[in-house]
Symmetry: C2
Subunit: 430 residues, 2 copies
């Protein structure tokens, strides 16, 4: 999943002089190249990332995308251009002639005269170690209280009343376990089921859902965290679009007309950043009537999240620096009294609202000690405090609800439609 991060490498500018026999090539976006009417051999230059490679005996087909369009540009080259470096995810600059395509699948294609690999993409070199965090846990990561408890069924004979000696629950997040592992592997992630015993009938809640969670040591700013999140969203989405075009198109065509344009809009724009304080101001000035009156210090509700995304022109928006009182004990204190916020971040996306949540973690022993003491959690989280006693580092992480992500890119309104066996209040079929 994180292998695709190499796509984020900055596209170096091209230093090669134009080929002397030809006029200098005009640089085109993929979108503009695809929109060319009556292409007749114009010399152009296109920069982007390789989305697919098909190598035939005497001919090589590449699909190149630069994020300006969901559709990719087909590049046709003779097989002498073929090399291992022309792989999925590599960034390239292609010069050649824009010509009418013989295939019905596209109007134009680019006949390559020169292909320069700008940045290699070795998908193995991602640097994130996949950790299986446990499902059964004696922690309550969020302190949310919306837990499922686990006990042996009445048929089982165990010596004590508690099978594990302590009360255990289904995990609500692998974060704390990931923090343990990030102290050894620097960058770690998990992708697994998580659980909330929420008595909710909403279109965006499940009792059992999947989360991608990551934890990064030596990370010192929300800025860096947001860059990883934006990169993950965009590259994963582009990968899905290029690997499963038929499936995506089916949803877009029959369930969510217009979703293709909305998605393109998200991919080609830089995500926005506003502070929680700014968000509350925007909501207060809104002409819309909210069920929950927006107020500094109160949680943002779905209605607020959706308004903010609309207000931002349907571009995903990061909301940062939430009131300390709203957030769990592990989020890093911004020391900005009298407001007193923590370095938390939520990513809000069109249609869904909150998709990612993350924060810098409180790595300072005395800060964390005081927060735990104030919450009466010192004893239960002594092991967590110990992580700050021995070789503590600044670090941060995030989690993304996987089914909500699918809702977002496919345009599917009800979360129960993006998982094969949905579990929610009053329903656990099979």
């Amino acid at each position: 999943m994180f292998g695709a991060r190499c796509l984020l490498r900055f596209l170096r500018s091209c230093s090669s002089a134009p080929c002397p026999r030809h006029k200098p090539s005009a640089k085109l976006s993929v979108r503009d190249a695809l929109g060319t009417q009556n292409a007749s051999g114009e010399r152009v230059k296109v920069q982007g990332w390789i989305r697919s490679v098909r190598s035939q005996k005497e001919i090589l087909f590449l699909h190149v995308n630069d994020g300006s369009s969901l559709e990719s540009l087909q590049v046709v080259a003779d097989s002498s251009f073929d090399s291992r470096e022309l792989a999925f995810g590599s960034s390239v600059e292609v010069q050649g002639q824009l010509v009418k395509s013989l295939s019905k699948r596209q109007n134009v294609e680019l006949k390559a005269e020169k292909i320069e690999v700008v940045g290699n993409c070795d998908a193995k070199d991602s640097g994130f170690v996949h950790i299986h965090t446990p499902i059964i846990t004696s922690n309550d990561c969020e302190g949310a209280g919306e837990l499922f408890q686990v006990k042996p069924s009445s048929k089982i004979k165990v010596p004590e009343e508690n099978f594990f000696n302590v009360p255990v629950f289904l995990t609500v997040s692998g974060q704390l376990h990931l923090e343990v592992m990030s102290g050894a592997f620097t960058q770690v992630f998990t992708f697994g089921p998580t659980f909330r015993a929420e008595n909710s009938q909403s279109r965006r809640h499940l009792a059992e859902f999947y989360m991608v969670e990551a934890e990064i040591s030596f990370l010192e700013s929300l800025q860096d965290l947001m860059q990883v999140v934006e990169g993950l969203f965009k590259t994963t989405t582009m990968t899905v679009l290029s690997n499963c075009p038929e499936d995506v198109e089916l949803c877009h065509k029959f369930i969510a007309p217009g979703q293709k344009d909305r998605l393109e809009h998200m991919l080609k724009n830089n995500f926005l950043i506003i502070s929680y304080t700014e968000a509350v101001e925007i909501l207060k000035q809104a002409s819309q009537n909210f069920t929950f009156t927006p107020e500094w210090g109160a949680d943002l509700h779905t209605e607020h999240e959706k308004y903010l995304v609309k207000h931002c022109g349907d571009i995903p928006v990061f909301v940062i620096n939430y009131p300390l009182a709203l957030k769990p004990f592990y989020m890093r204190d911004n020391e900005d009294s009298p407001q007193h916020t923590v370095a938390a971040v939520d990513l809000l996306v069109p249609g869904v609202g909150e998709l990612f949540g993350g924060s810098l973690r409180e790595e300072r022993y005395h800060f964390l000690e005081q927060r735990l003491a104030r919450s009466g959690l010192t004893e239960a989280y002594q092991w967590y405090l110990d992580l700050r006693r021995f070789g503590s580092v600044p670090h941060g992480g995030f989690g993304m609800g996987f089914e909500r992500y699918l809702q977002c890119i496919l345009g599917i309104d009800n979360i129960k439609d993006v998982i094969p066996f949905p579990r929610f209040t009053h329903s656990c079929l099979l």
Copy 2:
């Protein structure tokens, strides 16, 4: 995971005539090539699968393995040989000169004069669809009764006593859910946590562990199923050995000396097949005293499994056709009365005992109906019976305990040492 299945493609025999300028090349196994003393340019031919590729500006390094040795043979070629087809997993025939290597990492290397790709390996073309089967379920797949029950913790307010209206449990297997999906996708697999509330302190049981499970439609014989299992074991193991040699070596060196040879022995031999009936005969004739006396109709215990593997020369052995009375309702009736067995298979491996378990599933409506009725499960499994009513196909599947697999290849005695956060009776740390 299943991408590597293409490694199983049969190595076609070579039809190319020897190069006229040279003496005909001697065909060598990788093991023999590596064992050559004072190599001085002998012309040889080696056949095997590519384990790694490193492409430099003017030179190409391949590591080729044919299963005769854990170590691979380094092939050095000039870059003109480079092509997309020389990828991880492709099978090749290499002719060239065996020479002393300049590097300290190996004694000999093969200077390629001719490289022929025998079979391509496109890792994406695996044909197995990854399904996330649910963790919380209202089924009890094995009927084993060793279940964890799930309830909202006492803090949660829900209208009914049961959050889901029905009693729910942690999954013991994703098999039944996979069978649903194999009716649409033909070949499916899942890789996720499963749970057993066994009050066991053994070195091979956990309360929470991972399983790889697969289900294959249109599969008609145990033979075909065993081929998939053997292929999965061997190719996965070779992939681990070639991708993480340092980690594996660390374990082999400090924890399990001799494990490297034992593993090599498993990889280079065809797995054996015996029937349950034969297995019981072998055990009865054993000079060893067992705690549980072996008897037709009784379960095989760990002591029996370990004896059988030793008896088979420490080669993994499939035990097939177990008594119907020992196995769950979904396994296919062999109709071989008076014995009356089902088409079940377990794979026993050195050190661990049972690693895989699988079966053909009972796809015949009336057989399944009778079995369910006899077990008093007709009502609960009506939906499962329905799968046989609409478009039923012969099919089968298997499951492999992932931690046991790691024990097996790393030579680690206690299962608690191959998982970061082990859960077992009396222990659920963090």
